[in-house]
Amino acid sequence: MSERRPRSFYFLAAFFSAYVLFLYGPMFAIYILSFQGPDGGLTFPMNGVSLVWFGKVFSGSGIVDIGAAFKRSLQLGLMVMVLTVVLSVSAGLAFRRSFRGATFLFYVAIASLIMPSIITSLGIALEFRLLDDFIIKSGAANWTTAMGLFTSGLGAHLTWTLPFGLLIMFAIFNRFDGRLEEAARDLGATPWQTFRHVVLPIILPSVVGIGLFGFTLSWDELARSSQTIGSVNTLPLDLQGLTTTVTKPDIYALGTLTSAVSFLVIFSALVVILVLQARQRRHGSDAGKGMV
């Protein structure tokens, strides 16, 4: 690489740096401001440094019941993550063969991805309302509603995470060497053994990636949840509600905590992916190393 960089490189590098600053700058502003002193306001300058606002969030004073919303979002996120991984891997395997409705499923997934969220959200809300009406008319007088975090809410989140999972699976299997499975079959492996001992270990790093998308997209989901989770709120919904009422930095503290969870998940997922890839390189091929 002794070739000299063209002048355009420096211009574009500067542009890219400015973009990264644009991406991260504002976020870091609120992370810093969440450590605002007790008398500090919503803007710079910092009026001392304290953990007062984090304390407010944890004790729940002056702010809606954040602890409960936190727990709900976490539970929902984990459930969405598991379902996204399982359903995407399963459907990804299916798409390697041709099956009836493959094209249809593909287009439905794309449509679900780009459908304006408010429409999906409204549709699910209507569906559950009509279902409730139907159940009540059928004689269940005490019935309240089927709508809830783990019914309509879960479904709404899956319409958002599954398309991402499916597209990642497509990317994985576009590069997958089918001869590995043939080799496994020739050695007498059952389809399940082939999947468990050959396919899964190879695709595992990317599957962790699907899990990362599943959790983070659900953890931060707002538009599709807005009409579909019934009487309780998820964390992003509470945060959105607070934007119009809160005038103190506790909203920043909450934002910092929410981001901390995101970063923790992203960081762990990336570490796991790196470890798995390193493991794969170590165990990957013993060709030319003699019999083990």
């Binding site: 502003a29 609120i30 359903l87 798409f95 409204l122 209507l126």
Partner: protein, 293 residues
């Protein structure tokens, strides 16, 4: 295994995902369409055919001519925000993707820098919106800075809770959706084509316009579809960054829902869907999405 059994297994593997989409996407869309043609009163929907949802929406559109009625004004405004956001995300997204694809030479750096652009996508949109408050507010950094430099006497009011801040936040949030597909198209361009253009005497600019942009078109179209559909239906960003004062296609639906006028909300959803489909079908005429994955 016989061929039939293999196909059956594949079908079984795809069935759970199909079921989720059927229950939580296709069926809901069907209900939206049906309910949009129902009657309603102040507090509930009435399952009888009526086009009130639509007629209420377009109320005054003919009577008020030549002035535009509310719904048309709102849609024009949404389109304006949409075009602004699209233009800016395309410009920024293309430049960033170009840098990553053609100027970053080592694979490791490419991954690290791409990841750097991706991480904010995995964090909360609401937080990335409120993050602008300390910068753009009346006492924010920008106003303080400008006042300090003696450029302005009074704080600028249009920085926050305005169309400016809405577009700024939309660009901030969604440029990622442009970068990824454009980058994906760019790294698949055969580098020899660029060398050939260079050897044939093309300048850097000519190579960009005549070789790279045409070959990147699929990525540009896919990114555009993402950004346009998101902005057309957006009500959260426009709500938070517009101080709940700016009307948009998505916000009409939200306010109808808050008023429990479900058929009216559904009618608006159908209209929004129609407009979105029109835009997408115009865009997909340019490129076949399935081929690009």
């Amino acid at each position: 295994m016989t061929q039939d059994r293999k196909t059956f297994v594949a079908w079984l593997q795809a069935a759970p995902m199909m079921l989720v989409f059927a229950l939580f996407f296709l069926l809901p869309l069907l209900f939206v369409t049906i309910v949009s043609a129902w009657d309603y009163n102040e507090y509930e929907m009435i399952p009888a055919f009526s086009l009130r949802g639509y007629t209420d929406t377009f109320e005054g559109c003919i009577a008020d001519l030549p002035n535009l009625c509310t719904i048309l004004k709102t849609y024009l405004n949404t389109l304006k925000l949409c075009l602004l956001t699209w233009g800016l995300t395309l410009l920024i997204g293309f430049t960033v993707a170009y840098f990553l694809a053609f100027h970053v030479r080592s694979k490791t750096w490419q991954i690290v820098l791409t990841l750097l652009c991706t991480i904010p996508f995995w964090t909360s949109n609401v937080i990335r919106m409120i993050a602008w408050i300390p910068l753009l507010g009346r006492n924010g950094l920008v106003n303080r800075g400008l006042e300090g430099a003696g450029l302005i006497k009074q704080p600028l009011e249009w920085l926050l809770f305005s169309e400016f801040s809405v577009v700024l936040a939309l660009v901030h949030l969604f440029t990622f959706f442009m970068v990824v597909p454009i980058f994906n198209s760019m790294i698949r361009i055969d580098k020899r084509l660029i060398e050939a253009a260079y050897d044939a005497g093309a300048s850097g600019w000519q190579t960009l316009v005549n070789v790279i942009i045409p070959l990147t078109k699929p990525g540009i179209v896919i990114g555009s579809i993402f950004v346009i559909t998101i902005v057309m239906g957006d009500f959260v960003t426009i709500g938070v960054m517009g101080g709940q004062q700016i009307a948009s296609a998505g916000k009409i639906i939200e306010s109808r829902l808050n008023a429990l006028q479900f058929p009216a909300a559904a009618a608006n959803a159908v209209i929004l869907l129609g407009v979105t489909i029109l835009i997408i079908s115009a865009l997909t005429r340019i490129v076949d999405i399935r081929k690009e994955l």
